[in-house]
Structures are given as structure tokens and as C-alpha cells.
Amino acid sequence: MDRHELIIDADFQDLVPDYLARRKTELETIGERVEESDFTYLKRLSHDWHGTGESYGIPFVSEIGEALNRAAKAEDKATILSLAEKLEQYLAHLDIRYE
């Protein structure tokens, strides 16, 4: 898979690594939450992703968050898992440069 390169405002340099680490931890819990049909948690989680990703300079997190929120409301487990997988792959291949 190709690498994704993002240029992010240097002011956010101290924030972004923690932000991404939290998303990775959350992604690890998604499978379990889908298994438990915990759509309340998934709606809340996707809502937060949607509301923050672009502001941190990572629009893909917001895009996935928006789509995942719709899937969580529709209780569409397959789409939720597919979107989570997409984000996981994206983050695994993300290179960030701060300017």
C-alpha cells in the first residue's frame, strides 16, 4: 500500500502523536464493541473522530468518523468493521511532516 504524506501545522506537533495513539487504541476496541452491539459507544466514538480529525490536520479521520457514525446509527456492523479497517490501514501508512 502507498504511503500517505501529510503536512501539519508545526504548532500541533506536540498534540498529534498522542491524538493518533488514542485513535489506534480505540481502533483495537472496535471489533469487541461491534461484537457486543454497543452502538452507543460507536456513535459517540465516530462523532468524536468526525469532530476532530480535520481540525488536527488529518481530514481522513473526520471522513471515516462521519461514515462510521452513519453506519453505527444504521447498526450496520459490516460497514463499521470495514471503515475501521480502512482507518487502521491509513494510519499505519501515514507519514507526517510538521511545518
Binding site: D9, D11, F12, D14, L15, D18, Y19, R22, R44, H47, D48, H50, G51, T52, G53, E54, S55, Y56, P59, S62, N69
Partner: protein, 368 residues
Amino acid sequence: MKILIIDDNPDIRNLIKVILRPYDIDVLLADSGKAGFEVLEKEDIELIILDIIMPDMDGFEVCKTLKGDPQTAEIPVIFLSVKDETTSLVSGLKLGAVDYISKPFHQDEFIARIKVHLALHESRTLLRSRLEENKQLIHILSHDLKNPIGCAQSFVELMNEDPDNTEEYMDYIKLSLEQGLQIIDLVRHFMAIKDKKAKLELKKRNLRQLIDIALSIIMNKAREKDISVDVNVDSGIYIEVDEVSFINSVLNNLMTNAIKFSFPGSVIEINAEQIPGGKNGQDPGLEKDLIRICVVDQGMGMPEDIRQNLFDLKKSVSRSGTEGELGTGFGMPLVKKFVEAYGGTIEILSVEKKEGRDNHGTTAVISL
């Protein structure tokens, strides 16, 4: 300038803190409505950024509570919401929020909106404070005009009782009315100074002469209470003041208060001393001579809480005198404004009358 962010999401709180770092804004953070109210109890907040979806108490509930409390009702609130919440936002704005910012937001838009609302809040606060000040000035005006008008009225009564001295009384009436007109001019002048259109014209004046003029207006009140006024002021002392305000507002208010709170038959002292300053002066810390004027009464004194708030227009309270005389409580804030306009300071020392205490009374000390 302090703003409060209420959002349960640490990613948003941290981000806003970083975005606003370059600006002269103190950003306080709260992760819930409850935590936000705790911050508001301790801090003077000028703007609140409030998330809508939060556990326990959502943003709408928080906003409703804020707007229902007079202590926080005037603080502008900006909602933070993700784009699909905009429909419910309309009802949220009806609760009193001034704006909303959609998440995810862009840094530049976020800063621009915050700046607009902080500027608007500042203008509103200034306007409110000016309105309040003007309201207080009207009270002060009525308070200070009462003395010359009352004085003229007393002399009219004396003219009826003692028609042989009509000419002398007429001079006093004329003087009192002139003082009244001067006060009106003074307030116009004061308002112009407030609006930075004019400056008080400070001139060297003989202190003893100014005190004598002020006494001529006020002495009737002292006589009515059998109070004598002992003036210990050297005729060689000069002060740099605006004559009209010094006589009609500063001295008049200080003496009126001294008479009002003195017991019948007591003595009021007006003392002044000149402390040489400059290179050859007694006090090397003084750049120029210091004139210290004291109005000392042996009256009822005042409790400490009243003394502390005496110059605060908003907290100032009127108290009845020893003979039930009424007042507005607005005289002393005006005195302070004028003394400061002359470049001086005023201090009040007071010992409240209590059983077994003989040294009660109040001393007003003006340093120019």
C-alpha cells in the same frame, strides 16, 4: 482575558488551548458542565465555548443554567457542534448562545470568531459600565446641588424673619445660586473629561480661601447642630486644583459628611500641613512639596466594611447621620474621582463609636 472551554473530549480541549496559545487569552478547561460551573465560581470568564453532546449534562442544559443565573447570564456562549447537529442548534441559539462553531473547524475561522465575540463582549461591557456611571452621576448631581439650593432656601427664610438684613442675605443667596450653576457646569465638564474631550484646568489656589468659601455654603448646617468648625490652615498654603470642583464636590462632600455624622455640640477640625519635598525637602522620597489636608470629626465613625467600599460607586451605601440626616451615598466616589484628577490621593480613617470608646470619629486625609 479569560475564556472557558467546556467539552468532555480532551482532543478538542487540547487543540483549542494550542490554537489560542499565541494570543493574549487565558484558556481554562472543563470536561463537564459541572466542572465548568466550578470554574465560573472562581474566575471572571469573558467567553464560554460549549460542546453540545456531553454525558450527564448536555450543552443546551448547561447554557440554560448559565443564562438563568444573573452572575453568568451576560457571558457570551458559543456552541461547538458537529455539522449534522445544526438543526438542533437553532433551538440552542434561542437559549441565548451568540454563535456556533462547527466541528471539525479550521484554525483561522475559529480564531476569527473568537476575536469577534471577545470584541463584542468588551464593547457591551464598556457600554453597560458607562450607562451605570452616567446613572450614578445623575445621583451625585442631585446630591451636590442640594447643598447650595438648600442654603439659598435658608437665607430666603432668614430674609422673612429678619427683613433689616435683606441685602446681606441676598448676597449669600446669590453666592449659593452661583455655586449651584457652577456645579452644573462642573458636571458638564466632568462628562467631557470622561469622554476625553477636555481636561480639568488645574490652577494654584489659596487653600484657606477655598475652605472659607466652602464653609460659607455649609455653615448653616453646622449651626443647626451646634457644631463648631475649627480651621487650622496656614494662609500661605497653595494647592493646584480646579476651584469649582474642589469647593463644591471635594470640600463640600467632606464637610457635609463630617457634620452629618458628628454629634450636636461637637467640633470638626480642618487641618492642613505642607511637607517640603524636592532636594532640600524633609522627605527625600517626595519630588515636590506635599500638602496634606485633614477633615476630622468626633462623630459616630463607620464600620470597616463601609469604610472599605466608600469610594466604590456600585457598593457605596447611604447611612443616616446622627440626627437622621439622609444622603445618597454617592458623594465620596465623586470626591475620589476629583482628587485623583488633581493628581492626589484620599484616605479615610475611622473609629466607630462603641460603648466605652472615646476616640471615635472619622478623618478624611487628602494628599496633593
